[in-house]
Structures are given as C-alpha cells and as structure tokens.
C-alpha cells in the first residue's frame, strides 16, 4: 500500500516554525524528517515516522507554494489563497529574509552577479550551509538590490516598504545593498576578524553621512552611491598632513589635551604623524573607485593595526579620535571644518567599531 496523494489544507494555513527553519536551511524532506526524529518529537507526541514524513512533506509543499509570494512580500499580505494571521505573515517574511552570518561575510561587497552565484557551491562547502540555502540568501540579496537600487528616498525605508522586513533586518539589507553597490573589499585576510555587524554599522554611518541622500533627500540612488562631490572635496583635507605647521600644531593641540589621560600617551605622541597621515590619505584617495573598495583594508592597515600593536585600549582610541577630530576646529589656518566633520564624524564611529580583536 503506497500513498499516492496525501495533503492537509487548513482554512488557516498551518505553519510549523521548526519545519520552516529546516526548509529555509535547505534540507531535503528526508533530511528534515531525520533531523526532526533526532529532536525527539516522536517520543514527545507519540507519532510514527510515517506521520512525521507526511507532515514534513505537507509543510514543504505549503512553503514551496508560499515562496513565490515571499519574493514580493506585499503580495503575501494581499493574496487570498492562504489565510495567515498577520503575525505569522511577518514571521514568514522575516525568517525568509534572515541570512546566515557566515554566508553574508562571504558575499558582502561582492558584485551580486551570475559569476558570484556560480561560486556558491564553494561558499556552501566552506561554510557548511546547504547550497539551497545559499542560493535563497543570495537571491534575496540580489532581489532586494534590484528593487531598491535606483529608487529615491531612504534606503532602509524603501527596503521596509517593499519587503516588509523588521527595522533591524531592513538596516542589514541596506548595508548589504550599500556594500554590493560600492564593492567594498571585505574578504581580505586582514579583515577576517570583522563581523557582518561591524560592517553593517559602518555602512549605516556612511549612508547617513557620505551619500547623496545626506544632503538631498529627493535624489535617485541617494543612499546607495557615495557623494562624488564630497569625495572630490576630501582632497582638500590633505593640507592637514601636507602643511608641516598645521600638522605640528594639530599634534601639539591633541597632545596637550590628552596628556595624562591616555595610557599610551608616549606611543601616541610618537605615532601621531603616521596615524594622521594615514587617516587623511585615506580621505584623499577616495576619488578613485579602487581606493574606495579598499577603504576598510586601508583603515585597518593604517590605523587599527598600528594602534593594536601598541596595545591601545578602546578607551585610548576613543579619547584620541575625539580629540583628534575636535582639535582641527582650533586650527586657524584650516578652512574645511564642515568637510572635516562630515568625514571624521563617520570615520571616528567606524574606527571605534572596527577596533577590536
């Protein structure tokens, strides 16, 4: 006796969260059944393996039917075929768009193209995430990217509006879109210690301050592209390290303020010029696309690593950066105060976030 057909349809669509997770994780029905058996569900409920198999199949079929709608979440809200309470709809969407940390670190900053998609099996092998799940996550990134890429208005809001994601997840996606668009390098060995959260934090600060949207809220791609004019202007900051007097004055101001407050004062004092040169040069180079891509590599190389080798504490770094950016206002010969603040304000936030082991 073999089962030809076996279905269960509820007026309210039943969603089993555990099975949904297994499905999202890309397990086949048989693997999912095996995993559920291992979870001890049979003992808890007194069900048989056959029942579990049938139940899993049923849920998988439902999810498969829902997947089409999940690609455009507002459709899920308006469709009539599946009656799902709003809370469950939100859960379905949220979980569908949730991604794995390990996966996102692999593709963050990469072009979301067919080429990258071909590498997914390598990523799958490396991270231990099933290929199916990798594909879903990659396709999610790409889908969100395509939809919001050329839209005007806030990136996070656009993502929320079109994909009905939670605030947190929408911010994460904004970071992914931003990184993908600017192709920031995140895969270098030096950057391996950084988490997605670190990058997402930086992305958010950069979107807020360095993009077109920061100055004009009615532009196309306003949150996705960096403000070219701003990047061009950053060259002006070079004077801070090029003008020896200015550099010395800057150093003396910082040192005067921090004397006795910094655990690593002497190291700071000796390294000041190198650090300042590093930070200003990063700014000055941002006119070239390639250097934009290497922003994080540069920051780590030019600032994080030197400080770390001198055993600065996070508090030392904070005190230094605060004083470093604030002291510029006292430099009479320097005219680009606003530009400096726009640059350094964001950079300070990023560096503090990036500064950890």
């Amino acid at each position: 006796m073999t089962s030809e057909l076996d279905i269960f349809v509820g007026n309210t669509t039943l969603i089993d969260e555990d099975v949904y997770r297994l499905w999202l994780d890309g397990y086949s029905v048989n693997d999912a059944v095996a995993l559920r058996v291992r979870s001890g569900i049979l003992e808890q409920t007194g069900a048989t393996a056959g029942v579990l198999q049938s139940d899993t199949m049923d849920h998988y079929r439902t999810f498969h039917m829902l997947e089409r709608l999940l690609h455009a979440p507002p459709k899920l809200l308006h469709q009539l075929i599946f009656q799902i309470p709003p809370s469950r709809q939100a859960l379905l969407i949220e979980r569908y768009y949730t991604f794995d940390e390990a996966f996102v670190r692999e593709v963050l900053g990469k072009k979301l193209s067919k080429g990258t998609k071909k590498d997914l099996d390598d990523i799958s092998a490396k991270t231990g995430i099933t290929l199916k799940s990798c594909r879903r996550q990659f396709d999610n990134f790409k889908r969100v990217f395509k939809v919001v890429e050329e839209m005007r208005g806030s990136l996070v809001d656009n993502i929320q509006q079109h994909f009905l994601l939670s605030d947190r997840l929408a911010r994460d996606y904004a970071a992914i879109v931003f990184f993908a668009n600017n192709r920031f390098e995140t895969g270098k060995k030096k950057l391996q210690y950084l988490s997605f959260g670190d990058f997402a934090f930086c992305a958010e600060l950069m979107i807020q301050n360095w993009t077109l949207g920061a100055v004009d809220s009615q532009m196309d791609d306003m949150d996705v592209d960096l403000d070219k004019e701003f990047l061009q202007d950053l060259k002006e900051l070079k004077v801070l390290v090029a003008d020896k007097d200015l550099l010395d004055l800057h150093k003396s101001l910082v040192c005067a303020a921090l004397r006795g407050k910094l655990g690593v004062f002497s190291e700071m004092e000796t390294n000041f010029k190198n650090l300042s040169r590093g930070l200003v040069n990063v700014a000055a180079k941002l006119t070239h696309n390639k250097d934009v891509r290497d922003l994080f590599v540069d920051l780590v190389e030019k600032f994080v690593e030197p400080c770390r080798s001198d055993h600065w504490t996070l508090n030392d770094v904070r005190l230094f950066l605060n004083q470093y950016s604030a002291s510029v206002h006292s430099l009479d010969g320097f005219r680009h105060q606003t530009l400096w603040d726009r640059y350094m304000g964001t950079l300070r936030g990023c560096l503090l976030r990036l500064y950890h082991d």
Binding site: V51, D58, L80, D157, Q161, S166
Partner: protein, 1083 residues
C-alpha cells in the same frame, strides 16, 4: 420586469503577465447575465487595472435571477489574434434576493481559470433592485431563505416545521457530449461549471416554490448533491426541511415586512383553507396530488425537471410498458401501506403532520426544545440501480422489482430521466417510512440521502432516525390548539427521547428492554443508534468519542446486471458486519449510544467499501453496557484456551482503560428500583411490520443483539480472530485530544474561540497481488487510523482541543485506488474550566429550554431538576481529577507557545511600523523620522529584540470556516445566504505543479479562498455548516494530467465575538441578545 441587476467592475490586481514582450497585460472584462453581455474598456499595460466602469444594468425576470449566475470574464486584449481569457468569476446573486440577507455584494474575487487556477483578483460591486410582482402564478420563489445548517438557525425561531422538500434536475453532462471531442478542456470545464451553477439555481428555485406552497418561508438543512452519472447524465438533487422561521429580534412580526414579491404569497390570511387542493383534503386519500395551480410557462430546451415525488409514481405505471405486472406488486403494497397509515392516524393520533406530507422526514439533526419526543433508532435503506446507457436500448432497473423499458432517443431520454430518478428515490423513501412505522414512529429525523456510482452501477442510500415528534411545531398557525396535548405528553427532559416509541409486546425486533435509569418510569433499549446530534438536554456521563467501523469486500468485476446483482448480494453482509463492528467498538468503549451515525457504502470496480462513523456516548438513561465475552469453538485445545483467556483479558483491560479515559463513571443503580412496576403501559396502535420486498434493503433493526450481559464473540476461525484483533488496534487519540462527528463533543462545553477547519485527502494504491478481504480491511483500517494520527500530530499545538464534525468520505476512483477525504474542525477548549461542566451544562439546558419555550416547558423543568443531581456529582469529581492530573504535562508546550506569540506580536508590529513609515514617505518627511531612530544605541546587542506595541491588522479580512452551525465564543447576528459552489480544475502539467499532491493541495486552498472571498463580499466574516460534498479526483500520470471536481456549500454569516457583544448589549436590548441564542456556549 421584476428585477434589475446592476454590476460595476472597479479594478483588478495581481493579474498574470499575458504579454511576454512587455511583461504586462491589456485587460478588459466581460460581464454576462443570461444572454446579455457588457464589456469594460481595455485598460492598457497594467497588472493592476483600474476600470472603474459604469453600472452595467440587466433587466431580468426574478426567475432568471434565481437560476442564472452572474458571469464575469477577464480577458487580455489582443489586436492581432483572439483575445486570451485570463479567468472567470461566477457570482451567485441569490443572497441579494431576500430582504434579510445581504444588500450588496462588493469585494475582491479571485479570478479563476480551470486550467491555471487563481490568476489575480477583481473588485466587483453587485446590486439588485426587485419590484413587486403580484402575479400568483409565477415560477420564481425569491425570498425563501435557504440554510445548510441542520438545526434552526441561531437568530431565528421555528414557528412551524412543515416537513420534507425534495427536488431533482437532470441534464446531459457536457463532458460527455459529442462537442467535447472538439472543444478545449477549458471550454468543456467551463460549460460544466456553468451548467451546474444553472441547475443548482433552478433546483433551489423549485424547492423554494414547494416551500411557498407549504406556506413556509425557509428551507433548513438544505443538502444539494450532484450525481455524475457519466454518459447517462448529470443529476442535481436536493433535500431539505421546509419551515416558517421568525427572526428573534422581532418576535411580534409573524409575517416579515414585505418589500419583495415573494412575500405576497405569505400574505394569504391564515383562516383560509390550509389545504386548497381538493385531493389532499381527505385524510384517507393515499396519494396526495400536490399539483400546482400554475402551468409551466417556460420550457427548458435540454433540461427538464421532475415533478413532485408524489406525482412521479403515477406516470411510472403507464411508462413501464414492458413489465407492468411486476411493477404492480410493490406499487400496490405501497398503496396499502399508505392507506393503513392514514387509517391509523385517523384513530386518535393528532399527528396531522403525517397526513399532510407523504414523507414525514426532517433533515434536521438538532431540534427546538420539545420537538423530539422519542427516538426509535436508525432506519436505512439502500438500493442498487443500473444507470441506463446510451448504446443500450433497454433500460433496466434491477433492484426492487422495478423494471421498465423506454426509448432512448434524446428527447424522451431527457424528459423521462427525472421521473426515473424520482421514482428511485420515492421507493427508497417509502422503505424508510415503513421502517420508521415498524418502530412505532411517525417521523424520520436526521434524514439524509447519498449515492455511490461506479460505471453504470449506482447505489442509492438513505438513512435517518425514526422518531416521534411533538405535533405542536408541525401544525400551521394554531399553536395554542395543541397546548393541552403537549402538556399531557410531557416527559422528563433528559431521558424522554430514549424511551421506546414502539410497543414492547409487539417489538419489531428482539431487544432487551429495561426501565429508564433516569426516570424509572418508561422502558428504554439497551443501546440506541441515531443519526442526529445529541439532544442538548440529554444527560450524558463522561465524554464521547468518535467510533468508526471500516470494512472492505472484494467483488468480481462484472458487467451491468451481473454486477448489480453481485453488489446487492454483498450489501446485507456488509451492513451486518458494519453494525457488528460498531456494536463491538461501542461496548469496548463502555458506552451505550451512538449519535450522528453515518454509514457510507462505496462501490468500486472490484470492491465495496463500508465506512461508518458515529459519536459514542454513555447516556445516563440507558443501562450500563455489558462487556464482551469471547468464546472459542474448540474448547479441548489447551493452548487455544490460554490464548482465548489472554484475549479476554486484553478486552477487559481495554474496556476499563476506555472507561477511565472517557470518564465514564455511571452511578450505581440497585436492581430493585429497576424492577419496580411500570406505572401504566401506554396504549399504542398495533404495529405493522414492514415487509421489505427487495432483498437488498436491510435495516439495522434486524441486527440488534439480544441479551444484555452476554455479548459473546465467537471465535471459530482465523477471520473472527482477525476481527477481534482489529478491534484492539484502534488507538485512542493522544492526550489533550478528543474527537467526534457530531456538532459538539458530549461532555465538553467550555470552548474557547480558536478554531481550525481543515480538509485532508489521502489516496493510496493497493498492491494488486493476491488481495484478500483481510488484507484489504487491514489496509483500509491502517489508512484511516494513520490519517487520524496525522491530524492529531498536525494540530498538536492546539491542545487541549476537540476535533468536531469529523466527516470521512471514501471513494474508489480507480481499480486499486482508495481515496479518503476528511473535513473537520478543531476547537480548543479550556481545561481549567472543565470543573463546572456537568452542572453548568444541565443548568444551561434548563435555561435554553425555558428561554426558548417559556410558556410550555414549566413542567419539564421541574422534572429535570429532580433527575439531574445523581449523575452530576461523580462526573464533576472526575473532571476535577483529570484537570489536576493533566495540568502538569503541557506546561512546556505552553511556555514555548507564549514565547512564540510574543515574537509574532513583534513581527506584526513591524509590519505596522513599516506601513506607518510608508505613509510618512509619501508625505515627504522621512529623513527626520529616520535620524531620530538612528540616534538610538546601535551597538546594543539586544536591538533585534526591540519590540513595539502590538497591534494586529491585515489587509485581507479573516473569514472563519466551520462545519458546525455555531462559532465558539461568538454570536451569529445575521445569515447572509447560502454558499454553494462548484469548481473544476484540470492540469496538463501535473509534474510541474508538484504532482498529484501539489495539484490538489493548491486546488483545495483555492477553493477555500474563493469561498472566503464570496463570504467577505457579502459582508460576512464566517461560513458555518460548511461541507465539502464532493471531491472527485482523477489522474492520469502517464499523460501528466489530472482533473478534480469540488462542490462545497455552507451558510455565510456575520458573527460578533461575545466579548464585543457584551459591551454593546449593555446599552440596549440586553435581554433579547442573551436569551435569543440558546445554542451558544459561553466561555
């Protein structure tokens, strides 16, 4: 010109891409009613067109309004080739035709295509203006309300219950017409859908006419079915109970205010002769001719309807030219019976009901208090018929000695058809009636009819519960007249219905009678089988449970008559075995009564399947069931003896376990009380045993087992051994679950508001090699048990809950395929409130009785309170124990569920937040709101769990569906009309749609969606008494094809949560609201 139909096409959304080049669609809409068609403009290049059309107006007869569906077709405009159809929407406008229901149909309807399924939605507004029509001889019956609910609908009061109405309509099946060979599957499916829609409309109109003729204003328990007879045609038949209903909010208004033409009929003054037809005035007239006073003015080209059942008997005699002599036999017998019946009733019985209606049948399963006096038992009849085939010149009705021949040219074929079908049913109904009579009952309640068709063989089945009814409700107008009789006949509430209606000295079958354990005055049988719901006032011990008997019988493949003979030879054995199984399982559960019994016999190519479902309960009024004893045939064998005693022990253990599980703890009754003399045996008219002429029709009556204690199972061969084993294989539902096939679970009444209606379908393929009856039985048993287990597993998050109205349907679509379809509803209940059950239940019963029937039930009230305390106490104690013992187990589950819900709340609040933001974006002020939010601490790891105030909202209104007549924790405030929908879905890319399971899963989900959309458009928020009447699935995997037909029905309603209601009711008419709804359960 009695009606104007107005339609406006507003917009579409989510349309499919019809133009690959642009990924867009140029959609327009055709609106068709009858032969008139309107079109909207083409809305270019959009998947969300906004047509905003003018009002399309159709001026039509109200007759057409009843018959025709409104047909809306969405098409894609194509300049160069033919326009492509996107899909259709059929809207039944019947709910707009009676004043109390919906006034407008407005909403989003799924656009449905029989090949592609749902393809987007369309927003439509429909209105109807009806004009008064004084023409008495009209053929429409606008204004008669239809209810699928098999009890008096919640916000109505039954003034009179007029009785049985039936009708059937026959047509050619478009699928089998010659044209089907050249048209597309889509065209064929649509022709079929449209035809059935038309036929159901016509059928409903005709039933409505009969109701008006009976002076009723509503049909309750309306059940419409399709028989797909293949080449011999398509039959749409319906039965129901005609009533005069009175809306409860306006108790004074006996006649509703009339603003529709239908009300004209009802305005006939009541002092007029109630039987205007001279033929039916005399009580001894055996055949009442219910001829209508109008002549049919309209002729149907291809369709023809039946005449009234009564009439159809007469022409048949003339028609059966070939075998008039044979036919005379049963016909005379029929006459004789009726004459006798009539004579009997003249001798004192006040039951005018029986005189007036040929078939005193009610399709109701629950009754207004006081209507049901006694219950006799289940009566059923089956008949095997051969459907005539086109290439076969002779039509032969095999069973029941009817044999008639007729010509088969198309015209006569069509015109004679309904009469034939009518005669078949009349014959069966007659049989049922005579069985009821044999039980000393004048009526049959909980009556239903069904068919099973395989190729050219058709089994017609009917069953019901023989009963004695209080005539008060059955007479027109003169309510006061019967008042005295009513009081005379008063019986104790709670056990009266169990008392035998038949004469104990002249019992129709051997049965063991005892004095009622409740009132000790009347006699009761040892077990009681019924097809009705448990009466609300019945005193029950413990809880009930679903009991099923399952059976397969192999049959040789045969043709035509040989096949029919083989089947009819098998039927009695199947009935017997099903009955034995039921009885054994009932005893094994320690219970003594079955409610909601439904026996389905399905015929296939090479086997017959029997599936009986019922809800077992322990009625306090009936004696404690004896155990089951096993007796071996070969007593000399030592090991065998040992085996037997082992089995016996297992059985005894099971009984004990079940008693504990279902909390069956009847009070001890001393024998002396039972032995006390009867006050006075009531004088009853002499019984006539019905002589069943045909061998195929078997009643339950002959099967009753006699002695009380010694219920002996003889194990004489391996088969019997298997049977005993199979008895013990049924596992009880896991803890926290109960199941029943009645409306509510006996012993549980503290329902909470969560409900989940579902349909589950399974098809299994049997291995064709050496199939035996035993193996088949085992397979079938396993299939049903596994299905139940799956349901329990799937719904485990709802525990404690009860599966109510569990409805199994078996069909045999192909040689080795068995299809089982289950529809039921899971309702949660509050375990902690279980303490008050029994007592509160009893009190509630009293309240119900008193509120609904204030003037009459003073007396039974007193009796009832006397008899209740005895069983109430132990049961309550039991509840206490169970509540305390079980409270520990689901703690973990509960904890997780709480966790989830808070997460869910957060999720929903996100969506809410997003919506808010979307709005602010449009206003152009986002940047500020965003920066404010971003100022919040970002590095905080707990940010993900940030929660906003929960608020639930959805763009699509929730529509609840339930097979029950009520919604727990809510009050139905309005009935919007009947939902009766028929869909066909076909695919030629089965694999691509996920195989058979994917195909059917999607289709059923779509059917639910379309039902919900129609209800929502009517302004409703629930469907009650929902039933999936048919789910015919056919597949051809080798061709990658499948087809499925689904027919569903129910009542669209508006309900209000009781919690919401309380706030409202404090302001006004609090008394009315609280008392008007007796069936409601407060939580």
């Amino acid at each position: 010109m009695p009606g104007k139909l107005k339609v406006k096409i507003v917009a579409g959304r989510h349309l499919p891409v019809m133009d690959r080049a642009s990924d867009l669609t140029d959609a327009f809409v055709e609106v068709k009613f009858g032969n008139t068609t309107f079109k909207t403009d083409v809305y270019l290049k959009s998947l969300n067109p906004q047509w905003n059309s003018e009002w399309f107006k159709f001026e039509v007869d109200d007759e057409d309004l009843q018959d025709e569906p409104l047909q809306i077709t969405v098409l894609d405009h194509d300049t160069y080739s033919a326009n492509d159809a996107i899909g259709k929407v059929y809207i039944d406008i019947d709910p707009l035709l009676y004043s109390e229901a919906a006034t407008v149909i407005s909403g989003w309807f799924p656009i449905y295509d029989t090949i592609h399924g749902i393809r987007g939605e369309i927003n439509v507004v429909v209105k109807v203006d009806l004009f008064n029509d004084l023409n008495r001889f009209r053929q429409s019956s606008c204004g008669v309300k239809f209810f699928c609910t098999t009890s008096i609908p919640k916000c109505y009061r039954a003034v009179v219950i007029h009785g049985f109405v039936e009708e059937l309509v026959v047509n050619e099946d478009p699928e089998y017409q010659w044209i089907d060979r050249i048209r597309t599957p889509r065209a064929s499916n649509e022709a079929r859908q449209r035809l059935i829609s038309l036929m159901s409309g016509e059928l409903q109109r005709k039933i409505g006419l009969k109701v008006l003729e009976m002076r009723g204003n509503a049909v309750v328990g309306y059940l419409q079915c399709f028989d797909l007879e293949g080449e011999s045609g398509l039959v749409v038949r319906a039965i129901g109970t005609a009533c005069t209903l009175d809306k409860l909010s306006s108790p004074a208004a006996f006649l509703p205010a009339c603003n529709s033409p239908s009300k004209e009929m009802k305005e006939i003054p009541f002092n007029e002769d109630p039987n205007p037809n001279p033929h039916s005035s005399g009580p001894s007239t055996p055949l009442k001719n219910q001829t209508y006073s109008f002549s049919p003015s309209k002729s149907y080209s291809r369709q023809s309807s039946s005449s009234d059942t009564d009439l159809s008997l007469t022409p048949k005699t003339g028609m059966g030219s070939g075998s008039a002599g044979k036919e005379g036999g049963p016909f005379k017998a029929l006459l004789r019976q009726q004459t006798q019946a009539a004579l009997e009733q003249r001798g004192g019985s006040p039951h005018r009901f029986c005189r007036r209606r040929e078939f005193p049948f009610l399709t109701l399963t629950a009754f207004p208090p006081g209507l049901l006096v006694h219950v006799g038992g289940v009566v059923s009849a089956r008949s095997v018929k051969l459907l005539d085939r086109i290439h076969n010149p002779a039509f032969v009705g095999i069973m029941g000695n009817t044999r008639s021949y007729k010509l088969l040219d198309w015209n006569s074929f069509n015109s004679d058809e309904p009469e034939t079908r009518d005669a078949w049913w009349a014959e069966i109904r007659q049989e049922i009636k005579s069985h009821a009579k044999a039980l000393g009952c004048h009526a049959v309640v909980g009556y239903s009819e069904s068919t099973s068709i395989c190729e050219e063989v058709c089994i017609l089945s009917a069953s019901g519960t023989a009963a004695v009814l209080n005539p008060r409700f059955l007479q027109e107008g003169t309510v006061e007249g019967s008042l005295e009789q009513r009081i005379e006949e008063n019986l104790p509430v709670g056990c009266g219905f169990c008392h035998i209606p038949y004469d104990e000295l002249n019992m129709p079958f051997p049965a063991h009678l005892t004095y009622c354990y409740n009132c000790r005055k009347q006699k009761v049988p040892d077990v009681l089988f019924t097809t009705i719901d448990l009466p609300t006032d019945a005193v029950v011990v413990g809880k009930g449970c679903l009991i099923q008997a399952r059976l397969c019988r192999l049959k040789k493949k045969a043709q035509a008559e040989a096949n029919a003979t083989a089947i009819s030879n098998l039927l009695p054995f199947m009935e017997y075995e099903v009955h034995t199984q039921l009885m054994n399982k009932l005893k094994l559960k320690g219970m003594n009564a079955l409610f909601g019994l439904r026996i389905q016999i399905t015929v296939g190519e090479n086997m017959l399947m029997g599936l009986a479902s019922a809800t077992g309960v322990y009625l306090a009024a009936l004696p404690t069931p004896g155990g089951i004893q096993i007796a071996g045939k070969t007593p000399n064998d030592g090991s065998y003896e040992q085996h037997i005693s082992h089995m016996q022990k297992r059985i005894n253990d099971t009984i004990a376990k079940n008693k504990e599980l279902y909390e069956i703890n009847p009070p001890e009754v001393s024998e002396e009380i039972i032995g006390s003399p009867i006050p006075e045996p009531r004088q009853r008219s002499r019984l006539l045993r019905s002589q069943s002429e045909s061998s195929d029709e078997v009643t339950e009556l002959d099967l009753s087992h006699g002695k009380k204690d010694a219920f002996v199972l003889e194990i004489d061969d391996t088969d019997a051994m298997e049977d005993v084993h199979s008895l013990l294989t049924d596992v009880p539902p896991p803890s926290g679950f109960y199941s029943c096939n009645t409306e509510i679970m006996p012993g549980i009444n503290n329902w909470t508001s969560e409900i989940q209606m579902f349909t589950s379908v399974r098809v299994v393929r049997l291995s064709s090699l050496n199939l035996t009856n035993q193996a088949l039985n085992k397979n079938f048993n396993g299939l049903c048990e596994n299905l139940l287990k799956s349901l329990y597993f799937k719904l485990r998050s709802m525990t404690p809950c009860c599966l109510c109205h569990v409805n199994f349907t078996v069909s045999l679509p192909e040689d080795e395929l068995i299809q089982v379809t289950v529809t039921a509803v899971a309702i949660t209940f509050d375990k902690n409130q279980a303490l008050q059950t029994t007592k509160a239940h009893a009190e509630k019963t009293l309240q119900r009785a008193s509120t609904d029937n204030d003037e009459l039930l003073q007396f039974p009230l007193e009796l009832c309170s006397d008899s209740l305390p005895a069983p109430a106490f132990p049961a309550t104690k039991e509840h206490l124990e169970s509540a305390s013992s079980n409270s520990g187990t689901p703690a973990a589950q509960r904890a997780t569920s709480v966790d989830y819900s808070s997460f869910a709340d957060r999720c929903s609040s996100w969506i809410e937040l997003i919506k808010l933001k979307a709005q602010t974006i449009r206003r152009g002020s986002i940047k500020t709101t965003v920066t404010v939010e971003k100022a919040s601490p970002m590095g905080d790891g707990n940010f993900r769990n940030r929660s906003a105030p929960p608020c639930a909202s959805s763009t699509v209104g929730v529509v609840k569906m339930t097979p029950l007549s009520f919604i727990p924790g809510a009050k139905i405030t309005k009935y919007l009309g009947i939902i009766n929908m028929f869909f066909i879905r076909e695919t030629t890319s089965l694999r691509e749609e996920g195989g058979v399971s994917g195909f059917l899963h999607a289709f059923i989900a779509e059917v639910f969606a379309m039902v919900r959309a129609h209800v929502a458009a009517l302004g409703g928020n629930a469907v009650v008494s929902y039933i999936m009447k048919q789910c015919v699935f056919m597949e051809n995997p080798s061709k990658n094809q499948a087809q499925c037909l689904i027919n569903v029905s129910g009542d669209a309603v508006v309900f209000v949560r009781e919690s919401d209601l309380e706030a409202m009711s404090t302001q006004q008419s609090a008394v009315n609201c609280q008392t008007s709804c007796p069936g409601e359960v407060t939580t």
